[in-house]
C-alpha cells in the first residue's frame, strides 16, 4: 500500500533515516507487538510504539487506573481514574496515531492464557511488576520461540535484557527461579522513581523497534543495569546456561508454571 502524504509527513523523521527508510517504516506498520502490563514500563513503551507506527499493538492488564499509578504511568490521565488500564491505554495510543490497531486484553497473564495471548505477535514486552509473571513470560516465549524484552524497575534502579530464540540466554538462564516470597520488595512496597519507567520502558520500545526493522545490535546475551543515583549504565555479558531448565536442549520445565504471588501483592 502506498504511503499517503499525511503518513509521509507523520513518519518523515523515520523515513529520512538510512536505517529505517520506507522499507523500515513499512515493517513497523506491518509489525505486531504485545505489551504485557500497562504500568510504569508498559505506558511509555506503548506511547513510543504507537507513535512509531507499529501497526498492531496488543496490551494486556487486568487492573484499573489508580491514583497512585499516575506518578509514572504516563499513558493514563487523572480523567482515566477507575477506567480499565487497557482501555485508557488504547484510547491514548489511538489518539496519538490512528494508524495503529490496538488489541486490548483485560487479564493478567497465567499459564492458561499466555500461549494464546502471545501467539499472534512478533515481539513481546514484559512490563510486569512481579516475578511469577516474569518467569511465566520467559518460559512461554522460550516455548513459543518468541523474542521478548525483559525489564524490571525498583527505587532508582532499572534493568533490561532482550531474548531472541537461539541467540544468548533466556531470563531463566540468568535468574534460575523466582526469589522466595517477600525476599524482594515490589515497587509498591519499595517505591520507584517515576522517570525510571520512562527510561527503561523507552529502551524496551527501542529494542522492539530495532528488532522489527532489523538494524543494530540487540541486548541479547547482555543485561543492562541503570543506577539513576550514581548515574551509571552498565552492561554485563551473560552466557547461556547449557543446562537451563527451560531453554536448553533437554529442558526439565516443559509445562508453564503459575508461581505464587507474594501475599502483599494479592488482590483483596
Amino acid at each position: 500500500m502506498p504511503f499517503t502524504n499525511e503518513q509521509l509527513e507523520r513518519y518523515s523523521r523515520h523515513i529520512i533515516l538510512k536505517e529505517v527508510g520506507i522499507k523500515g517504516q513499512k515493517k513497523l506498520l506491518n509489525a505486531k507487538v504485545l505489551i504485557i502490563g500497562a504500568g510504569g514500563l508498559g505506558a511509555p513503551a506503548a506511547l513510543y510504539l504507537a507513535a512509531a507506527g507499529v501497526g498492531t499493538i496488543g496490551i494486556a492488564d487486568a487492573d484499573e487506573v489508580d491514583l497512585s499509578n499516575l506518578q509514572r504511568q504516563v499513558i493514563h490521565t487523572t480523567a482515566d481514574l477507575g477506567k480499565a488500564k487497557v482501555k485508557s491505554a488504547a484510547e491514548t495510543m489511538t489518539a496519538i496515531n490512528p494508524d495503529v490497531k490496538v488489541n486490548t486484553y483485560r487479564t493478567f497473564v497465567t499459564s492458561q492464557n499466555i500461549m494464546n495471548l502471545i501467539a499472534g505477535y512478533d515481539f513481546i514486552l514484559d512490563g510486569t511488576d512481579n516475578f511469577p509473571a516474569k518467569f511465566l513470560i520467559n518460559d512461554a516465549c522460550v516455548m513459543a520461540k518468541k523474542p521478548f524484552s525483559h525489564a524490571g524497575i525498583i527505587r532508582f534502579r532499572g534493568q533490561l535484557m532482550t531474548y531472541v530464540p537461539g541467540q544468548g540466554p533466556c531470563y531463566r538462564c540468568v535468574f534460575k527461579n523466582p526469589p522466595p516470597k517477600d525476599a524482594v520488595p515490589t515497587c509498591k512496597q519499595a517505591g520507584v522513581i517515576g522517570a525510571m519507567g520512562g527510561v527503561i520502558g523507552s529502551l524496551q520500545a527501542m529494542e522492539a523497534i530495532k528488532y522489527i526493522i532489523g538494524q543494530g545490535k540487540l541486548l541479547t546475551g547482555r543485561l543492562l543495569t541503570y543506577d539513576a543515583l550514581k548515574m551509571e549504565f552498565h552492561t554485563i555479558k551473560l552466557p547461556r546456561d547449557e543446562h537451563c531448565a527451560v531453554c536448553s536442549a533437554h529442558p526439565t520445565i516443559t509445562k508453564l508454571i503459575d508461581y505464587e504471588q507474594a501475599e502483599c501483592d494479592m488482590k483483596k
Binding site: N5, L8, S12, I16
Partner: protein, 82 residues
C-alpha cells in the same frame, strides 16, 4: 546529447514542504531500480537548496537541474545502490 537524460519515473514534490519534500523523493527512488533516472519537480527556494544536496548525501547521482517556465524546477537523479 550527453546532457539529455530520459526520466524513468517522475515525482511531484511541489505539494509538500520540508522535510516531506525529500521524503517523498526518497520514497519514489526506493521503488526504482539501480541506474534508473527520477525526475523530481520541485518549488524554487528551500527544495532547490536542499533536495539535491540530500540526494547526494544518500549516494545518488545528481544529473541536472532544469528550470521550468512556471517557477518550478525539475531535478534529474540517477539511483545508485539498492
Amino acid at each position: 546529447m550527453a546532457d539529455t537524460y530520459q526520466a524513468d519515473e517522475t515525482v511531484d514534490i511541489t505539494d509538500v514542504v520540508c522535510p516531506v519534500t525529500f521524503v517523498k523523493a526518497k520514497v519514489a527512488l526506493e521503488e526504482m531500480d539501480e541506474g534508473q533516472v527520477l525526475a523530481i519537480r520541485m518549488n524554487d527556494g528551500e527544495p532547490v537548496q536542499n533536495v539535491p544536496r540530500s540526494m547526494k548525501e544518500e549516494g545518488h547521482q545528481v544529473l541536472k537541474l532544469n528550470a521550468n517556465n512556471d517557477g518550478t524546477y525539475t531535478l534529474l537523479v540517477r539511483k545508485v545502490g539498492d
